[in-house]
Subunit: 149 residues, 2 copies
DNA sequence: AAATCAATTGAGAATCATTCACAAATTATA
DNA sequence: TATAATTTGTGAATGATTCTCAATTGATTT
């Protein structure tokens, strides 16, 4: 935890940004809830528990900043809000998501899986891939079992 | 064109929806601009040229309806607006997109490319895939050439 | 064709997420 | 400590989307 905060602090300093208390509190929330996919509002409410004076705009600004620095990725599952997702330590690519159409849970896939597809896209479309977003919509394991009952 | 309108009309009737003049005008805009990725506002302005009395809410309602019927897919490239994309004739899956980070153009990939990945996801995550969203962000061919100059 | 009933529409208000503006507070630096 | 630049909180502004509701339309029955 502290180790990851340190690393983020260095990334900020490298671009001459400061790790203010508000920013640190925000990062801590993201670390503590790493497996979730929090909206800005979600983050705001959680940060308020640690730092009640924080303003919503600051949370938006911090998330925006972390996005620029590729510390978090901004995703959209089509429900009208942006969600913010910490990059896995040392991950070259953004991870993938499985969204259950039944219960709404979101699973993560850390494995790359797209290596071959990216090669094809670069070769056949001459498009230089920098990043990707891959989301599968379907039925999760639990909901499949429920359907059988 | 007329043939595709007819098909859509049948899809609507099958669920006992009507193809009203407003809905037809909206579908015609989508057909005419099939290669674009129009926002609701874009569609509204174009439909107004054919049917000036139409209201924005009707366009939203129509796009929502076409989404439910899987005639169009709703996508979000992270710029704050939803975009609406006609499914290709007879396509089993939603097509993929290449978004240029430099000039903003959006290319389409109709080829499936994800067959193997979906098999892996179904087998290893026991997730029943119904749909997907795949977008690559990077540099398009034209912008790569510009950089070399 | 008129009557009937449900579906659909247009207009504008309401809502919701996100951004902006700006004065006050904080931080790093001299 | 004085200075300058960055960051913050507040509340207002914006922009996209949804909602409300009375009026209109479309299909169906007489
Ligand atoms: Zn589920
Ligand atoms: Zn994730
Ligand atoms: Zn380009
Ligand atoms: Zn498309």
């Amino acid at each position: 935890m502290e180790h990851r905060i340190e690393r983020i602090k260095k990334l900020l300093h490298a671009q001459s940004y400061k790790l203010t208390p508000q920013r640190e509190a925000t990062v801590r929330v993201l670390l503590e809830r790493e497996e979730d996919h929090l909206s800005a509002e979600d983050v705001y409410l959680l940060v308020k528990e640690k730092a009640p004076e924080i303003g919503l705009a600051t949370v938006y600004r911090t998330l925006e900043l972390l996005s620029e620095l590729k510390i978090v990725d901004k995703i959209n599952f089509g429900d009208g809000v942006s969600r913010y997702d910490l990059r896995k330590e040392g991950a070259a690519h953004f991870h993938h998501h499985l969204v259950c159409m039944e219960c709404g849970t979101v699973e993560e896939i850390v494995e790359d899986l797209l290596e071959d597809v990216e090669k094809i896209v670069e070769r056949d479309w001459q498009f230089k891939v920098k990043d990707h977003r891959l989301t599968f919509h379907g039925i999760c394991r639990k909901c499949q079992q429920k359907e059988l009952e």
